[in-house]
């Protein structure tokens, strides 16, 4: 059993931690880096579901948005502790994910995608049209959350370190999960669900479990996002955002954990930089996605694996 994190991983995180010290990391770039790493982490948690368990969620934005609103609701009432915000996000997103997961994992394939899509649309509609949550404008002007008494997340550099820490912890968690027995069963379910069932595994429970973990990780990311952005809006939960998460995973590579992080970061950076100059970058993204599905369905970085394996294949891992 290899170590918690290979030395390459530590080097990368050290580099990330040292990034603010370089001269071209302006405040603006640090916030940009936050977004890139945060959404990279979201893509990674989606990869748990898509790449390892073979379940495509078209409703992941709902987890993200619920996490954001949990934070927003507390912050706007003056409850500034970041920990409480994260805790509430875990509870709310967990509860929602439990319900969705229970029904969505009951049947196969495309059904999971459709059900997650519709559930997410319900959440979006509820938040968009409920005045208590700010309606279509959402909740704005939130104060910065507080980590310790006197230490608030109000400067770009602190916000940046928060996400680096989160990414590290989330990555470690995913890595441990994927290499554990649980992770291997997931892969077995993905490869051949019936066989896994015949071997005696409670397939639905495993699916629900990974759905829950993936959702909560995404929800925590959403909670952090509201702390940085000082707002939570229903647009965060729209199905087009769920689609963007999927694109991030596909760019990065299914089933690699690291690939989606890069895919997510790349997507965010591209969006931010290119959209100021060129309005038609959506065409590029769309075409790229089509090409990836056609020619590199395992993603640009992934191993030779798809959403389902071919009948004759190499051993997993």
């Amino acid at each position: 059993m290899s170590s918690l994190l290979p030395w390459k991983g530590w080097v990368v995180f050290a580099a990330l931690a040292a990034l603010p010290l370089t001269p071209w990391m302006t405040k603006y770039h640090m916030l940009l880096a936050f977004d890139a790493l945060l959404f990279g982490a979201v893509a990674m948690s989606l990869d748990l579901l898509m790449g390892y368990a073979g379940l495509v969620s078209f409703g992941h934005a709902a987890f993200f948005g619920l996490g954001a609103y949990s934070t927003a609701v507390l912050l706007e009432r003056g409850i500034l502790s970041l920990w409480l915000c994260l805790g509430l996000a875990v509870v709310i997103v967990g509860a929602y994910a439990f319900v969705v997961g229970y029904f969505a994992t009951a049947r196969r394939g495309i059904y999971f995608a459709l059900l997650t899509l519709i559930f997410a649309e319900v959440v979006y509609t509820v938040f968009r049209y409920t005045q208590a949550f700010g309606g279509s404008d959402g909740i704005q002007g939130l104060p910065s959350p507080v980590i310790l008494p006197g230490v608030a997340l109000d400067t770009p550099i602190r916000i940046y370190y928060a996400v680096v820490l989160y990414l590290l912890l989330a990555y470690l968690a995913c890595r441990v999960l994927v290499r554990s027995h649980f992770g291997q069963v997931l892969v077995a379910i993905r490869e051949n669900e019936d066989r896994a069932r015949f071997l005696g595994y409670d397939v639905q429970r495993y699916k629900m479990g990974v759905c829950l973990i993936s959702a909560v990780l995404t929800g925590l990311a959403g909670a952090l996002y509201a702390g940085r952005a000082a707002y939570a809006t229903p647009d965060l939960m729209h199905w087009s955002i769920s689609g963007e998460f999927i694109i991030m995973v596909m760019i990065g590579g299914l089933g690699t954990l690291v690939g989606p992080i890069i895919g997510g970061a790349f997507f965010i950076l591209l969006q931010e930089k290119v959209s100021s100059y060129v309005q038609w970058y959506s065409i590029v993204i769309g075409v790229v996605l089509v090409l990836i599905v056609l020619f590199a369905p395992h993603g640009l970085l992934g191993f030779r694996r798809g959403l389902r394996a071919r009948p004759r294949r190499e051993a997993a891992g």
Binding site: W24, T26, S136, Q140, T233, G253
Partner: protein
């Protein structure tokens, strides 16, 4: 293949983060133009940019401001608060703008106010009309030359009740701007003895308004008051017309309901529509005509209420010249109470208490696809009292009082 690609991706990320090549040696000051460049309010955003461009060109021709050439950075906020905040952050943190004009949608403007407050940047609003901006959300760097919903209600309600009809149905777009207009007009109409027989809100971007028409017809109003903007307005009027309701009821609405250039396409449905505004290409006022002439010469089209953005740049530039500095605190102080003579309607002054420009306006009626003035209103009569920090909707209720 995987490894190489990884390095490639990392490299491109790093490349993208590098700053763009530095600007030329000449001193430059940047100002931000934030608004809806696509979507429902695209027209307003475009005209805002045009108005700002005209002001900047005039100033640059005279040497710029404080010896600096003015450069405009335009960003699209997608008519939503979240992108508006991100773009505002970019304009302020990366582009270092000394003036931010925007946004178009009230929701976006309110959100951006948090950003301009936090980072201390002069913020001018020339089109959003929610009532919170000069009351509860007010901050010292915020200035406005848009008649907000309270001003519009103060100016228009009396005319509506006295000249158009006592029974009014209020139909608004269900987000910050529309809700604000609905509230203010209901309050003002009732104060002047009118009867609000019904209120309803439709979500932004509603495709089909016919589900609401039954209720409107049932309540049998004299006047239909509509608080919508942009493409929603176009759609609404088309549908109202096809159901015969534009002929059945008198029509009134807010100043940004439709821009002049959209009127000819729906001249017939809009016939008789009354609104309060500070600009019309058909107003014989000589200052307005002069402005319209030069706008038309430059862009080939008539101006509209977005001319306020032109004034905003001029106010800011005048203040900067006065205190010889771009520092936000100094400029803000200089702008309080300041008057300039070269706005689109001549001389205008900024009120000190709530940073609102005192605007002489007119009531307009649409005749043959044109906004024709029918009454004049002095600025001091419509501006209302300064309510900085006070809740402008205290005691308000949406309830319909049955008579």
């Amino acid at each position: 293949m995987g490894k190489r690609l990884t390095y490639l991706v990392f490299l491109s990320c790093a490349l993208m983060m590098l700053p763009v090549a530095p600007a030329s040696a000449q001193k430059v000051v940047k100002i931000g133009d934030l608004g809806s460049k696509v979507g429902v309010f695209e027209g307003y955003g475009k005209y805002q940019t045009m108005a700002i461009q005209m002001a900047v060109e005039e100033l640059n021709a005279k040497g710029g401001v404080l010896g600096h050439k003015i450069e405009i950075i335009s960003e699209d906020d997608e008519t939503k608060p979240a992108p508006a905040v991100r773009k505002a952050e970019k304009l302020i943190l990366q582009d270092d703008v000394k003036l931010l004009i925007g946004a178009v949608s009230s929701g976006a403007t309110l959100a951006v106010m948090d950003v301009t407050k936090k980072h201390k940047v002069i913020h001018w609003n020339s089109v959003s009309c929610a009532e919170f901006m000069r009351t509860t959300k007010f901050h010292k760097y915020y200035f406005s030359n848009q008649p907000d919903s309270r001003m519009q209600a103060t100016g228009l309600a009396k005319y509506m009740v006295e000249k158009m009809g006592k029974r009014v149905y209020i139909f608004y777009t269900d987000y910050a701007m529309g809700q604000s207009d609905g509230r203010q007009f209901k309050t003002a109409l009732e104060k002047h003895g009118g009867e609000v027989v019904g209120v309803a809100g439709a979500p932004l971007d509603t495709k089909d308004f016919s589900p609401w028409f039954g209720a409107i017809n049932q309540s049998n109003p004299d006047v239909l008051f509509v608080a919508f903007a942009g493409t929603d307005s176009l759609r609404l009027m088309t549908q109202l017309h096809s159901f015969g309701m534009t002929k059945k009821y008198k029509l009134a609405g807010i100043d940004c309901f439709l821009l002049q250039q959209d009127l000819p396409a729906i001249a017939e449905p809009m016939e008789g529509f009354v609104q309060l505004a500070h600009y019309s290409a058909y107003n014989p006022d000589k200052n307005m005509q002069a402005f319209n002439a030069k706008f038309k010469k430059k862009f080939g089209v008539d101006g509209n209420i977005m001319a306020g953005a032109y004034d905003a740049v001029l106010f800011w530039a005048a203040a900067v010249e006065k205190v010889k500095s771009f520092d936000a605190d100094k400029v803000a102080e200089a702008q309080e109470g300041m008057c300039i003579d070269n706005t689109h309607i001549g001389r205008q002054c900024i009120r000190k208490e709530d940073h609102q420009v005192i605007m002489d306006m007119h009531l307009y009626q649409v005749k043959g696809g044109k906004n024709i003035p029918i009454a004049a209103l002095a600025g001091k009569d419509t501006i209302g009292e300064a309510m900085v920090g006070k809740d402008p909707i205290e005691g308000f209720t949406w309830e319909i009082k049955k008579k």
